[in-house]
């Protein structure tokens, strides 16, 4: 059943107008990207957008063959990977009682968790810095990973509990009768059935940690410990003349894992709206 098209000509005019507006917005969104891609294949790139005279992959090559650019990638992998795995494991464990047991504090706890996801993590960095000075945790991967895990956990627990709720209880009851512990039934029955959910939580935490600039910028002091996010800033924000082409190539390489993981989540793990599960009212 289609709506009766009373005003067909008017409708096609407004559709054409809509396409025009959408195309314009698309172009405006695309323009800032254009420079990044052109500069990355231009060995003598400046800040202005120009079509390279002799495009080459020299910028990418020099990024790949220098320790000053590879170390930050390894650091980022360590920090984000550590945060992602630690968050995923401890959130899965915490979600099990919240999903399976009758706990009297369940509702207030889940509301507190939801409340915590809205708190501005930026603001906590000053006291965390002061705390880390006292605990001698400044400039340590361990301290940075623990702080990032702590701030990722509320949302991770929230998501994980919702994913776990969708695994039917009946499958576990058989294992309970056979005397399986909670840990065993979590590991052998529940988690295998919610692998996509587990993946979403782990990957999403990794993406956020990989893109985080402020936390490592404050908590890690030695240049050889800093991840790629901080080194990009130090190249364009602090030093005067910059090899813009190399920095553009570096930025693309730094963004690539995040973009790839995002595409992976949305294609194979049920879409971005699993992430934003808390958003839909």
């Amino acid at each position: 059943m289609k709506a009766p098209s009373v005003a067909m000509p008017r409708k096609s005019v407004s559709a054409a107008l809509a396409y025009a507006v959408l195309t314009l917005i698309g172009i405006l969104f695309l323009v800032p990207f254009v420079w990044l891609f052109l500069a990355s294949v231009n060995p003598s790139a400046s800040l202005a957008v120009t079509v390279p005279k002799s495009p080459s992959l020299a910028n990418f090559k020099s990024v790949f063959t220098s320790d000053t650019t590879l170390t930050p990638f390894a650091n980022g992998l360590l920090i984000s990977g550590g945060t992602g795995i630690l968050t995923m494991v401890s959130a899965a464990l915490a979600a099990y009682p919240l999903s399976r047991y009758n706990l009297r504090f369940k509702r207030p706890f889940m509301y507190t968790i939801l409340f915590a996801t809205g708190l501005p993590v930026t603001a906590i960095l000053v006291p965390v810095y002061a705390l880390f000075v006292q605990l001698n945790l400044l400039d340590s991967f361990f301290g940075t990973i623990m702080f990032m895990t702590a701030t990722s956990l509320p949302f991770a627990i929230w998501l994980m509990k919702n994913f776990m709720d969708s695994v039917p209880l009946e499958l576990e009851e058989a294992a309970w009768v056979d005397g399986a512990s909670a840990l065993k039934s979590l590991r052998t029955i529940v988690l295998p059935l919610m692998l996509p959910g587990l993946g979403v939580v782990g990957i999403f935490t990794f993406i956020l940690a990989w893109g985080n600039f402020f936390v490592p910028f404050i908590l890690l002091l030695s240049p050889n410990k800093q991840p790629a996010a901080v080194s990009i800033y130090q190249f364009f924000g602090q030093y005067g003349s910059v090899a813009y082409g190399q920095l553009a190539a570096y930025s693309i390489l730094y963004s690539a894992p995040v973009v790839a993981l995002y595409v992976f989540i949305s294609r194979f793990l049920g879409g971005a709206f699993n992430l934003a599960g808390a958003v839909k009212g």
Binding site: M1, A18, V21, L22, T23, I25, G26, V31, P32, F33, V34, W35, L36, S46, A48, V49, L86, L93, A94, P97, L98, Y101, L103, Y111, L114, F115, A116, G118, L119, P120, T122, A123, I124, L125, V126, P127, A130, L131, M146, F147, T149, A150, L153, E173, L183, L186, G211, F213, F214, A229, I232, G237, S251, Y254, V258, V259, Y262, A278, V279, G281
Partner: protein, 306 residues
């Protein structure tokens, strides 16, 4: 095998072992998460309440021997014109880039993209979501390059004989607001698109048959139906924008002078550039309280079933 079939037909009443095991079996699995949150999230928040009332410094004599100074930090803050300017700039930034920019443009995109060609929607969606997926520091770098004196925008303006400027210097607030609209619109667009796809089609058709124009259908039917999504989205993006640091810091550093110094940048400057950790914590406390109020509203509006 037998046990399975018996269990399946059994009523919902709790199995025997639930009654036998003690009340505290949740502690084991929840302990790792609770300990990490307590030490590295809740702990620092509580500690903020303490050091915000001290004169702790990053270096110098009071770095280790700080003392309680009462409300001095807050008195200083509310008398500091830079603080008041930061509050105003934070409000301008949040309203301009999140509420008007991201939510407005996101809604426009979501509405216009309904029922359009699939390939067209796919390409446009990829571009806009691309701006959102790219890490914040790269977004800052892209916009720094775009708006710089030697940047692409001036090349375009020059080609049309229009005046060129170092836009980051001449119009820092407009620059960071535009960059944040570019970066954040995708989120609102995705939320609104999902909400719009849940609006029943026959309701809109019925309104059309009753003679409602497209504008009337939007205002009278569509928007009221998705108002919950609009509300939660507005609170979420407000929360994210209030505390935004990296994009502004990397593009303008809060400058020139203090012209784009929002509260998080002001906090950073005081705590880490002027070494006033106690005072920085007091600013952090203000940010936390604002964030907590917004977050409470968020939890209330969401009204989820747990």
């Amino acid at each position: 095998m037998k046990a399975v079939t018996i269990q399946k037909s059994a009523p919902v009443s709790p199995p025997l072992w639930v009654r036998l095991k003690d009340h505290f079996r949740w502690i084991g699995p929840m302990a790792p998460a609770l300990v990490i949150i307590a030490l590295f999230f809740a702990g620092p928040i509580i500690w903020t309440f303490y050091i915000a009332f001290t004169n702790m410094e990053l270096t110098g004599s009071t770095a280790s021997t700080y003392s309680f100074v009462g409300l001095q930090n807050f008195q200083h803050m509310f008398n500091d014109p830079t603080f008041r300017q930061s509050v105003v700039l934070t409000i301008i930034f949040t309203l301009g880039s999140a509420v008007v920019g991201q939510a407005g443009l996101g809604m426009l995109l979501a509405l216009l993209m309904r029922g359009k060609n699939g390939v067209f929607r796919g390409i446009l969606g990829a571009i806009i979501v691309g701006a959102w997926v790219v890490p914040e520091i790269v977004a800052a770098f892209i916009w720094y390059a775009f708006l710089n004196q030697q940047g692409s925008l001036n090349v375009f303006l020059g080609a049309f004989g229009l005046p060129q400027n170092n836009w980051l210097y001449v119009a820092p607030m407009v620059s960071v607001i535009l960059a944040n609209v570019w970066r954040g619109t995708a989120f609102s667009m995705l939320v609104f698109s999902a909400a719009l796809s849940d609006v029943p089609k026959d309701l809109l058709e019925a309104a059309a048959i009753d003679g409602a124009g497209s504008m009337q259908r939007l205002i009278r039917v569509t928007l009221p139906l998705i108002k919950n999504s609009i509300m939660t989205n507005l609170i979420l993006i407000t929360l994210q924008t209030l505390a935004l640091f990296t994009l502004i810091f990397a593009m303008t550093g809060g400058g020139p002078g203090t012209k784009s110094q929002t509260l998080p940048i002001y906090m950073y400057q005081e705590a880490f550039k002027f070494y006033q950790l106690g005072y920085g914590a007091a600013i952090a406390l203000v940010l936390l309280v604002i964030g907590a109020v917004a977050s409470l509203i968020y939890v209330r509006v969401l009204r989820v079933e747990i």
